[in-house]
């Protein structure tokens, strides 16, 4: 038995929304996803199908309303606040570029989240995985000889980042698979440890800290060699980097794997019912392990991207906030990569806008986090109206009283209830 755990379906599906017509990207899901408790009329069906779209929209509008009120409390008139926000989001080519860069990082984290989520795992560990991925990337990016061409240096750096993030997530994955510990708790705790690893590595000269020459030397790494810098996209006056392309490619790849390959179907099977997947003979443990590790790798790459962008150093605040925002994108996307791209972009612009809100209108930037968390509370809180579920989880373990199940189901709810 395990601790507080999200039964694969329960935690996942409450927020994942009803699978089916609302998310076009979801057509790859096997039949059976659309179980409905009671016979419903066509129109009720249609209304229920519309809700998963209507509710997030309502949540966003509500969050915007609250945020406007808070901005007014902070002394900015709605017009002032909106102007500052708009300027920070799309006012200049520079603002657009940096918004896109934020969006790219969020999309990378969200892509990983969606992969793990398909297998019924909730990856809360984005922040720690970003931190460790960034540390690994910095280790590569600062030690490579400058003569190495970018065509070699960048892939090496990103590979190291992916490996770092994957290694970090594999701790939680191993504990989930072997010891039945909820990945929510472990990835959450690993965030704190991962950020501490980052802090440790930039405070110790033996690790990644830049050579201390005076008492003024900041605790951060040396700058990366030039060849390990992510190239800009080349848009005029825009700081947008190739990370945008990388993140989009990642999302497309993730979407293809989940929708068009056998692996995707297997992951979905594991996510919907582990006992059923076991009965089908699927390597459930291996699939869950790889799904969470892949999520870690994606977040790790996000960390690598952050280090390989301006100012090309590893510092203490590097990972902060991206993990949670990436999780927000993944949750709101409800399994759809198309939605994830859109939401990551919107949130990326919102985050940049929030920074300008602080600079130009004096409204604390944490207002964007308030808006984000309100949206999540709104969407998760209304799940009972938007998600159709069967009344009770059914007993799905094969009836073989004479034999212990091959892999004891440790997560509880569905096997024991």
């Amino acid at each position: 038995m395990t601790a507080p755990t999200s039964a694969p379906g329960a935690a996942a599906d409450v927020v994942a929304g009803s699978p089916g017509r609302d998310a076009p990207a979801d057509t790859g899901r096997p039949p059976g996803a659309q179980r409905s408790g009671a016979p419903t009329t066509a129109w009720r069906d249609r209304l229920l199908d519309a809700r998963p779209v209507l509710v997030p929209v309502a949540a966003v509008l509500g969050a915007l309303g609250v945020s406007t009120g808070l901005a007014a409390l902070a002394g900015a008139t709605p017009v002032e606040a909106a102007t500052a926000l708009w300027e920070g989001m799309v006012g200049t080519p520079y603002a657009i570029g940096s918004s896109l860069n934020v969006a790219a990082v969020l999309l990378l984290v969200a892509t990983g989240f969606l992969v793990a989520h398909r297998a019924g795992l909730v990856n809360v560990g984005g922040e720690g995985q970003i931190a460790v991925g960034a540390v690994a990337a910095t280790a590569v990016g600062t030690t490579l000889p400058p003569a190495v061409p970018a065509a070699v240096a960048l892939p090496l750096l990103l590979l190291a980042a992916a490996f770092g993030g994957a290694a970090w997530a594999s701790i939680a994955a191993w504990l989930a698979v072997r010891r039945g510990v909820s990945e929510v708790i472990t990835t959450l705790l690993l965030n704190f440890v991962g950020v501490a690893v980052l802090v440790l590595s930039i405070h110790e000269e033996a690790l990644l800290r830049q050579p201390v020459t005076s008492s003024e030397t900041l605790p951060q790494s040396s700058p990366l060699v030039d060849s390990a810098h992510l190239p800009l996209l080349g848009l005029p006056d825009s700081p947008a980097t190739t990370a945008v392309v990388l993140a989009l490619a990642g999302a497309v790849a993730g979407s293809l794997v989940l929708r068009r390959t056998a692996t995707g179907v297997r992951l979905a099977a594991v996510g919907m019912s582990r006992p059923a997947a076991l009965r089908l003979g699927l390597p459930v443990d291996r699939l869950r392990f790889s799904a969470l590790t892949t999520a870690g790798a994606a977040s790790g790459v996000a960390g690598g991207v952050l280090v390989a962008s301006v100012p090309y150093v590893l510092d203490e605040g590097l990972a902060s906030g991206y993990g949670f925002s990436g999780l927000v994108v993944g949750l709101l996307a409800r399994g759809s990569f198309t939605a994830a791209v859109g939401i990551a972009t919107a949130l990326g612009f919102l985050v940049s806008g929030g920074i300008n809100l602080q600079l130009a209108a004096g409204v604390p930037a944490s207002i964007t986090q308030i808006a984000e968390s309100l949206i999540i509370l709104g969407v998760a809180g209304t799940a009972i109206w938007t998600v159709r579920r069967t009344a009770r989880p059914t007993r799905t373990r094969p009836w073989r009283p004479w034999r212990r199940p091959a892999t004891p189901d440790r997560t509880g709810t569905e096997a024991t209830s």
Partner: protein, 308 residues
């Protein structure tokens, strides 16, 4: 050696009390079947509100009142989401924490001035007992609030023990909500109240941290203590004594980061910062497999036939 050991114990107890108070609230919540991840947010909100209240009124007692009410309000939010709306308990808990972190950071910019003195609680020495070597200063030189909170924790453990009607109701609701419902236990009311208890105690834990120990509010001042409280419940195998021991161990682990550098031990600070969380991971990984959580933990209750 004796003075340094004393320092370590003093710091451990100082850091263990908030974890203990929050964890004993969380214990009641989890026994009732509600996994409240928002302890962190409740503590932070409690700490913030207590500092705002104490500064505005000039009295630490009003600060405690504000901290308790603020914790309760987050508790109401979580209870509505987890119990009435049957939302995902973990996701809403984490979102509530994010909301609390951002909200208090925002509020601190507006409401708190740097450098104003916050009315706090003074330490009260218990005569004779405080003179016991090593243990005395750690245990018997606390603030009045700390004594009151520890008393409240003991009282709560007694009131919700398995020998009282309340305790049995809490366990019944957490183990098998459907059977409890059939036997006439008001499942939703018990669960809702349990989450309120979590909110109240977590808010007070944050208050203790702010008004008895730190005497000010800083952004994200709980910095993960609430998660340690949640883990302490798991590590303590859902038993009050076990939870208390786990809370003390986490307090000790947190205290090392302040005491070891003072001793001149050359350990990187970041290693000490991660220590409690590494311990928490080990605890979760090691203890979970041979202790049983309440069977209905993290499962919403709905009476048969209503959902379909």
């Amino acid at each position: 050696m004796i003075p340094t050991l004393t320092d370590l114990l003093v710091a451990s107890v100082a850091l263990a009390v908030p974890v203990l108070v929050a964890a004993s609230g969380e214990l009641v919540g989890e026994r009732a079947g509600v996994l409240t991840m928002s302890v962190e947010g409740m503590m932070l909100t409690g700490a913030f509100a207590s500092v705002v209240g104490a500064t505005a009124s000039g009295s630490a007692f009003y600060g405690v009142l504000c901290g308790a009410v603020a914790g309760l309000l987050v508790g109401v939010l979580q209870a509505v989401l987890s119990v009435l709306l049957r939302a995902d308990q973990i996701v809403t808990g984490l979102a509530a924490n994010a909301l609390a972190l951002a909200g208090t950071t925002f509020g601190a910019r507006l409401l708190l001035d740097r450098g104003t003195t916050v009315p706090g609680f003074a330490r009260i020495e218990i005569p004779l007992l405080a003179d016991i070597p090593v243990l005395g200063p750690a245990l018997f030189r606390q603030t009045g609030l700390a004594y009151a909170l520890v008393a409240a924790v003991v009282l709560l453990a007694i009131v919700t023990s398995r020998r009282t009607g309340w305790g049995i109701a809490v366990d019944a609701v957490g183990q098998d909500a459907a059977s409890a419902d059939r036997s006439g236990v008001p499942v939703l009311r018990v669960r809702f109240t349990a989450v309120l208890v979590v909110g109240l105690l977590s808010g007070l834990a944050g208050t203790q941290l702010a008004l008895s120990e730190v005497h000010t509010f800083t952004d994200n001042m709980t910095a993960g203590t609430g998660y340690l409280a949640v883990v302490a419940v798991i590590a303590g195998s859902w038993r009050p004594v076990g939870v208390a021991v786990a809370a003390v161990v986490f307090g000790l682990a947190q205290a090392l980061q302040f005491t070891l550098p003072a001793l001149g031990v050359d350990v990187p600070f970041a290693l000490l910062v991660m220590l409690p969380y590494v311990l928490a991971l080990l605890a979760v990984a090691g203890f979970v497999s041979h202790s049983r959580p309440p069977a209905g933990l993290n499962t919403a209750f709905v009476r048969q036939g209503r959902l379909a």
